[in-house]
């Protein structure tokens, strides 16, 4: 048996890295177990001519397609939206767009304001200092003064508008609608050892240059220097409990596949909204026959994605194509609830810069825009680098039938039962998506686009995995309390997107990390009586 540690964190991604760094100043012995490995800068696709091809192989966003030894399979057959993630040091921050909006104040009070779902037990003001701290640690570029948000000051200037951004800006001004340069975790100036972005192209599958902030190059170097131990290639099977019902540690398989038991005083789960409920449901004991900390029966339930409605078209001149980070602008024009619409809550528009040559060919072939034969070449030349598009990222409300369970048959390469998803898009979300598509068509028309097409929902659009171990003050209606501690197990914490009560209509990484920092601070403030 390994020596007991003070704090054991499972998962090294957005939230695990943040909580590890924050707790490091306690000088406690902290170990983090990560099922994946470090990704070297030379590993990233943009180093090679085959950079786009690798988006369909070892850097595919869908883990079932990618199927690296470090990935686990997911049965997503009963979901119109497929999970996308990455398993490695940095987790899915390796493979995200770096679009970094915060939740809005209203997102935390949806029951009070709109009469739906539940209010969060915390609010924007509570998280505000942690948003700011996280912006500094991750390195956020953006522009102060956005009327859609309470004032805040990103530490770096925004990403360039580019040709497509300018077109969108003019179109939005013509329509009188809000738009603003996105907060993004892509360095636009030299920042904390990271060089400014030189526009390597679409950086969702990682940044060879290190301009995009993933936690392997932001939080982790600081945390490791401060004494945190990060063990890679360690796949956790279950959280164990002692005779008092407290978490006693975890059983995991090390890089050689050998079973290990790591005892710990405190266990923190940071495995995302699918990985965390999977681990909890796999952690069965006499005390917790339905999975650890699951007396509410809510572990795995209320899964929320953000359904994405993508609308795009083509203009009559070359734009930016794959040059530069894929996203640079957002609009919050339709974010807040409007009683005049037939749905509650709202969505963000995120504006895309364009796509690369191969992606254009494949998407257009699938859509039937690209003929076979002599006409192929002429048709393709009217499409490549001429695409302009935007997505409505829609708030998904919690519904218990949308859930993560354990698949009865599917297992990962270590023999651990894999997750199964059952998910349907709600009527409210569908109306919201239709509204977004209609507005997007108006925007694209104003931007001079034609041949407008729609992909709704984006099939491989399950970036945001939320709600499956929700936060609340009532142990019968929530899994963790207002500072991330499980109601049932007082030394077990959750810091990832599982604890979200509602989803907002924004990319969640900024808020996930602010929450992790807030929970870490809550732990530090209560060290003397943490388990009371």
């Amino acid at each position: 048996m390994l020596d007991k540690v003070d704090v054991l964190i499972v998962g090294s991604g957005a939230s695990g890295a943040a909580v590890a760094w924050s707790l490091a100043d306690t000088r406690m012995r902290i170990v983090c177990l990560e099922q994946g490995d470090w990704v070297k800068p030379t590993d990233y696709p943009s180093n090679g001519r085959d950079w786009e091809a690798r988006l369909f192989s070892d850097f595919a966003i869908n883990p079932n397609r990618r199927a690296r030894p470090t990935d686990y399979p997911i049965n997503d057959a009963n979901s119109p939206i497929k999970v996308v993630n990455f398993n490695g040091v940095g987790g899915s921050t390796i493979m995200y767009t770096a679009h970094f909006p915060r939740m809005h104040p209203s997102d935390f009070k949806v029951r009070t304001l709109d009469g739906v779902a539940d209010d969060w037990p915390i609010d924007y003001a509570t998280l505000e200092p942690y948003f700011a701290e996280n912006d500094r640690m991750m390195g956020v570029s953006g522009l102060a003064g956005d009327p859609a948000y309470p004032p805040h000051q990103p530490p770096m200037p925004p990403l360039p508008l580019g040709k497509s951004g300018a077109r969108f800006g003019k179109a939005m001004n013509q329509l009188g609608w809000h738009w603003w340069p996105s907060d993004s975790t892509i360095a636009t100036t030299d920042y904390e050892g990271r060089a400014r972005c030189i526009n390597l192209g679409h950086c969702t599958p990682g940044c060879a240059q290190g301009a995009k902030a993933s936690t392997d190059i932001t939080y982790w170097p600081h945390a490791i220097r401060a004494g945190v131990e990060l063990r890679t290639m360690c796949r956790v099977r279950e959280v164990t409990v002692d005779e008092h019902g407290m978490a006693s540690g975890v059983v995991y398989y090390d890089a050689e596949g050998k079973e290990q038991f790591q005892p710990a005083e405190v266990v923190i789960l940071a495995c995302n909204g699918v990985g965390t409920p999977r681990l909890m449901l796999n952690s069965v004991s006499a005390k917790f026959p339905d999975g650890i900390a699951n007396s509410s029966g809510l572990v795995g339930k209320n899964l929320m994605f953000h359904p994405y409605a993508l609308t795009y078209g083509y203009v009559d001149e070359p734009l930016d194509g794959n040059h530069g980070p894929p996203l640079c602008l957002w609009s919050q024009e339709f974010y807040e609830t409007d009683p005049g619409r037939d749905f509650v809550r709202g969505y963000t528009f995120q504006f895309g810069r364009g796509v690369g040559a191969i992606m254009e060919a494949i998407v257009s072939a699938n859509a039937g825009r690209l003929p076979w034969g002599e006409d192929h070449h002429g048709a393709y030349r009217k499409l490549v680098n001429r695409r302009i598009g935007l997505s409505a990222i829609c708030e998904d409300l919690p519904e218990e039938h949308n859930r993560v369970t354990l698949d009865p048959d599917l297992k990962d390469s270590s023999g651990i039962p894999a997750p199964r998803l059952d998910y349907t898009i709600s009527a409210n979300s569908l109306k919201m998506m239709d509204h977004g598509i209609a507005r997007a068509k108006e925007i694209l028309t104003a931007a001079g686009a034609s041949n407008i097409a729609v992909e709704s929902p984006i099939l491989n659009g399950g970036w945001h995995l939320l709600g499956t171990a929700r936060m609340g003050t009532d142990p019968e209606r929530s899994v963790v309390n207002e500072w991330g501690r499980c109601h049932d197990v007082k030394n077990l914490f959750i810091v990832d997107g599982s604890i979200w009560v509602t989803s907002g209509g924004v990319n969640p990484t900024s808020t996930i990390q602010a929450l992790a920092l807030y929970i870490a601070d809550s732990i530090k403030q209560r060290l003397a009586n943490l388990f009371d």
């Binding site: 990233y44 943009s46 180093n47 001519r49 085959d50 786009e52 091809a53 369909f56 199927a67 809005h104 104040p105 209203s106 935390f108 009070k109 304001l113 522009l143 003064g145 009327p147 859609a148 948000y149 309470p150 360039p160 508008l161 580019g162 040709k163 951004g165 300018a166 800006g169 939005m172 001004n173 009188g176 809000h178 603003w180 340069p181 972005c197 030189i198 526009n199 390597l200 192209g201 060879a208 240059q209 794959n322 040059h323 530069g324 919050q332 807040e336 810069r353 040559a357 191969i358 060919a361 494949i362 072939a365 699938n366 076979w372 034969g373 002599e374 192929h376 070449h377 030349r381 490549v384």
Partner: protein
Amino acid sequence: MPNHDLTAEQVRDLRALAGMMIPQSAVYDVPGADDEKIFNDILRSLERDRDDIRRALSHLAAIGGGAFADLEAQRRSEVAAAFREVGGAPLAALVRVVLLCYYRDDRVMRSLGQEARPPFPRGHVVEQGDWSLLDPVRARPPMYRTINTE
């Protein structure tokens, strides 16, 4: 030769189909997808799509009643058109691999006016743009809802 697990007949059919999808063009000065260099790249790149492509080629042969590559030109066109209608996911995988390899060939990239190089380390230039476009938005009052906790 790469380990692509295709029979010799399937290799010939795949090459014939690739050339039909994207033929050589003197107008644009580009090779077809059946060009030797591009086609060898295709054969090397089947990997995760290998099974689907085998299924697609079997389906193609079934529709044509034999080797697709051996059909007369008119019959090939008819069979290919029928295959496009019913090929489903296996055909989509086949088309994807052909496009992945075709649109990274140096000659094709140059014909499109694109540099035949990896993105790193030189990167690209994206123009900063005119930020005065934001002036009307800057002038807007706050849009976010405030929470009255009273």
